[in-house]
Amino acid sequence: MSFDVTKVRKDFPIFERTIRDGKKLVYLDSGATSQKPLSVIEAESNFYKFTNAAVHRGAHQLAEEATDSYEGARLKVANFLGAKEEEIVFTKNATESLNLVAYAMGNAQPGSRFALTSKDQIVVTEMEHHANLIPWQQLAARTGAELKWFEVTPEGRLDLSAINSIITENTKVVALTHQSNVLGTINPLEAITARAHEVGAVVVLDACQSVPHMPIDVKKLNVDFLAFSGHKALGPTGVGVLWSSVFEELPPFLFGGSMIETVTMTSATWAPAPRKFEAGVPNMAQAVGLGAALDYLTEIGMQSIFDHEVELTGYLMNGLLQIPELSIVGPQNTDARGGSVSFTVGHIHPHDLGQYLDSQGVAVRTGHHCAWPLTRKLGVPATTRASLYLYNDESDCDALFAAITGAQKYFA
């Protein structure tokens, strides 16, 4: 571990507060949303205090400065991902990013590589978050295309054994998560992207749980779209990202100001990407805040963050497995898995467990984690999830262990 977690925590104002009668905040819910360092909070405030104006729209100094800040944030995102500026579109969250792709494909003209008919197929996986499942269900329903999926093995890995019959010549799009928000599993992409591209399908990667936690170079991933949310990556709420190398060919999604080239009463033509996909006055302050978040992460180093989390995940799983009746759902070691660890504890319902943990200052998430089909497949009604980030350390894990043991006594 090459950075000092205690020092890192000092950058996050929220850790100065306490929970339920003065208990230390043990925040193990970064998989849902991350906390924010002061530099991010201030980047957003300073935008409003010093340079607030509508970007791209005014010929005055404030508008110039606002445009510089906003486009500067785009450049930061591009650099963070190893991408070009025009490949970065700001959305409101990853959910919008993924819906954008599905709706825009629905808007494609017949014959376009994106257009779907009842002969085509869409491929997802059983471990998708609802945000990367339902948009495709709906696109399938609207176009008559068939929805197919990769199953999840009992170990919490994708079963790729039938890859050639799941991804076929009729597959137009393969949408999958980079890292499961329930299991922590990091999916092997090579086989899937190779097969998808072999049959001419585009690959949409839900990188919500990977971009904030590991070094990413989009050029190496071999995918066509990548989505993530700012708020899970130390950034503000209200901003997401969609990266793509094929934006030029994709029709727009939201229609309105700033995304047009010309407009008459009956028709319109579109500006080039990324503008084509950013209708209306954008989430300027939030994009700027996200830029500051990526600066913060880069300063610490994504590889260090990943290493820290892998080490801490090992510690977490080890400690958890020593608790009687506790079983971890998903990969049982740290190979190709990130810092989201879901588990069940005997007959204690996750909701009750979460409530007890909360009374001890430990914040986790319980339920189906917006991946209901996966929870069902795993044969559990719900799980409890602890998810780690750069500001967590062993003392957080120890607090969790103690609290679980306490819950077992309480509900005995």
């Binding site: 339920r20 009668d21 319902h349 996750p350 909701h351 009750d352 409530q355 007890y356 009374s359 319980t366 339920g367 189906h368 209901w372 929870t375 009604p381 719900a382 309480y410 509900f411």
Partner: protein, 149 residues
Amino acid sequence: MELDSLYQEVILDHYKHPLNKGLSENYGAQVHHVNPSCGDEITLNVTAIDGKISAITWDGVGCSISQASVSIASDLLVNKSFAEADAILNEFTELMQSKGTKEGNPDVLEDAVALAGVSKFPARIKCALLGWMAFKDAAVRINTTTGGE
């Protein structure tokens, strides 16, 4: 500890030894309700004779609050008229929305007053209401079909 106001003895008792759990073979109406935020599910059978609730049985998975609450409801509402049940349900709903300011009338709510503490935990109110809302739904169905007879 504030947690104890949520997990009263009565609640944990009902959770461990639920009443009327196991679905009856016959029923006037059967409903299935879920709590989308946590995935809890419940199936509830209601039977009525001459406008009076004669049996409530249920099955489902869920946390102690949702299970205890439906257990309590299934015991409390039986042998009541639909109007009486409705009044109890309203009083219970009010209690749940009271943010810890009400204690609940034990003459009307009986064991359900033990759920008063839930009102201080907004995320749990839906758990406590799951079975009651299922009952409400079933009552509507019984009274809009001939299923009640």
